[in-house]
Point group: C2
Chain length 325, copies 2
């Protein structure tokens, strides 16, 4: 049997619900046979989260991911140090919280890039804390050559662009850009265990019936097919997501953010999550924020976090079974 994948979760902003839902998810036991989970963050924050959540599974500080052990009845914590939980109030954004998230993200990302862990979950960050910490990163701008794949039930959609003004996003619909995302998506799906993914490429215009749909999308689809990718399109935008839901496609490339997000959020299957593709490791986001209003009350629900962790484990296993959480 292949060893279980090592899946690290950056616990998110210490003042938010991230640490709570992370400990609850691991304590649920549902991950025990799927992966070896590790939390990245401050041990004191994790301890506090366990206390307010009534989680009794023992915490185990580990010094590196090199030898995490195979024990299932513990919550492993890799604490890079430098954070003081006693100065962190629930529900209050701060520079210290923002800085901690930046530090922990750096640790998680480096571990992923080094190949020492197979997957990373990014717990919920708070944009105010990040700004207070001086971060200039803009949410919704993945690095060039990487994309955000949304998985929700049988729907898997990835847009060419994220938080870009729609008129600008449409200018970025070029054969080159469309081909790039098709290739990254196909590579990811193959790695995750779908040897011949069926990829639909949505058109840009109503009913995909304008010259742009032919001129900008057809060449990309043709080029992808020459590379052996089972791509098709331009698909009629208002029909393709229903077809994907019905099993006709494994994933849909969309021409702009809302095209696919409207489908995903309207269908709203439980267990939706976002996978950052085009990276050498699996990186999964959690589809909720820090929920400062309920942080520290022990009432935050951990289902989304658990689903993100499960999805990372499934993808890392390369079994071709995923999104079934």
């Amino acid at each position: 049997m292949a060893p279980l994948p090592l899946i690290a979760t950056m616990i998110g902003d210490p003042a938010g619900i991230g640490p709570e839902v992370a400990v609850k998810a691991i304590a649920s036991g549902e991950l025990d046979r799927l992966c070896i989970p590790v939390l990245i963050g401050d041990l004191g924050v994790v301890k506090r989260a366990a206390e307010v959540s009534g989680v009794t599974r023992a915490l185990q500080r580990i010094e590196s991911v090199g030898d995490p052990g195979t024990q299932t009845d513990v919550i492993r914590v890799l604490d890079p140090g430098g954070f003081d939980v006693s100065s962190c109030a629930f529900g209050e954004p701060s520079a210290a919280c923002g800085q901690a998230v930046l530090d922990w993200t750096r640790v998680a990302t480096a571990l992923g890039a080094s190949g020492r862990i197979q997957g990373v979950i990014m717990g919920p960050k708070n944009s105010t804390s990040l700004k207070l910490a001086g971060s200039k990163a803009v949410a919704g701008t993945p690095a060039p050559g990487t994309y955000m794949l949304r998985m929700s039930g049988a729907l898997r959609v990835v847009p060419l662009t994220e938080h870009v003004r729609l008129t600008q996003a449409l200018e970025m619909v070029t054969p080159e850009n469309v081909l790039k995302v098709i290739r990254v998506l196909s590579d990811s799906l193959v790695k995750w265990g779908l040897p011949h993914p069926r990829i639909a490429v949505a058109g840009m215009n109503p009913h995909a019936m304008f010259d742009e749909d032919r001129e900008r999308i057809v060449p990309a689809v043709d080029a992808a097919r020459k590379l052996g990718i089972d791509a098709s399109g331009p698909a009629v935008p208002d029909a393709v997501f229903r077809h994907a839901l019905e099993g006709k496609y494994d994933a849909v490339v969309t021409m702009y953010h809302d095209q696919g997000q409207i489908a995903v959020k309207t269908a709203a299957f439980e267990g939706a999550c976002t996978v950052h593709i085009g990276l050498p490791y699996i990186r999964v986001g959690v589809p909720h924020g820090t929920a400062f209003d309920i942080a520290g009350k022990g009432v935050a629900r951990h289902r989304s976090m658990l689903n993100s962790m499960k999805t990372a484990a499934q993808l890392a296993s390369g079994s071709g079974i995923f999104g079934q959480v």
Copy 2:
């Protein structure tokens, strides 16, 4: 008790499934207590449709809608004449079929405009037949000041523009145009029995977070509110349809065709139909085509046609109960 509304159905292209689903819908008996249905089209075509469909309800030719009678066990047909069913083969587009559809549509439209009937259903037309008949009308271009409202389950969405290139559609997002559709939508919903409709206006950009969302949509929403309309927006495009489904809004104004159509077609509730608003009468479309491949075989399903007829009857009654088919 108010008299039942008179609802006329233009049977659609005689070579398609329109006549079949129309007779089946009336013969189902489900309309008997909701409206007085009348078919507009050739009696011979309707007779043939009843035969291939195994419909035994008697056909009754009426000369005008002035005195349709209240009998429920008949299928009333208003035949403007001029069509020869013997020269019309199932599944074959022709100039004669296209011309018939144009003629019958004119009759139905004139009856609606005159106030002598309360609602019109447009059976499925065939674009090839229409072209052969010399029609230059382009599908998906409603007359100025009128809009196509899609009703599907609890979702009711109406776009500013229909089959328009997306870059052009975005140019047409102006405060004036947005206000126009809000007003027509509000007037329609009030007439149908919702005294204070809650109307969400979707933003144009991802998360409605760009200057255009503020500059082009906020002034329209403000102006509508000054007119006493419960409008709000710009709403986050990828969230507003889920909120509408959950009952937060009665209808959503969308900035371009696919924005709402993706939501409607992905959610895909049974009984979806399109209501042409901004006309002095209720005009409902059927969400399927002529299905030439199965025309004349008696297998076409009439659920969509029946739902369209029911919806027209519900809207005409002004009871505020609609979309519950």
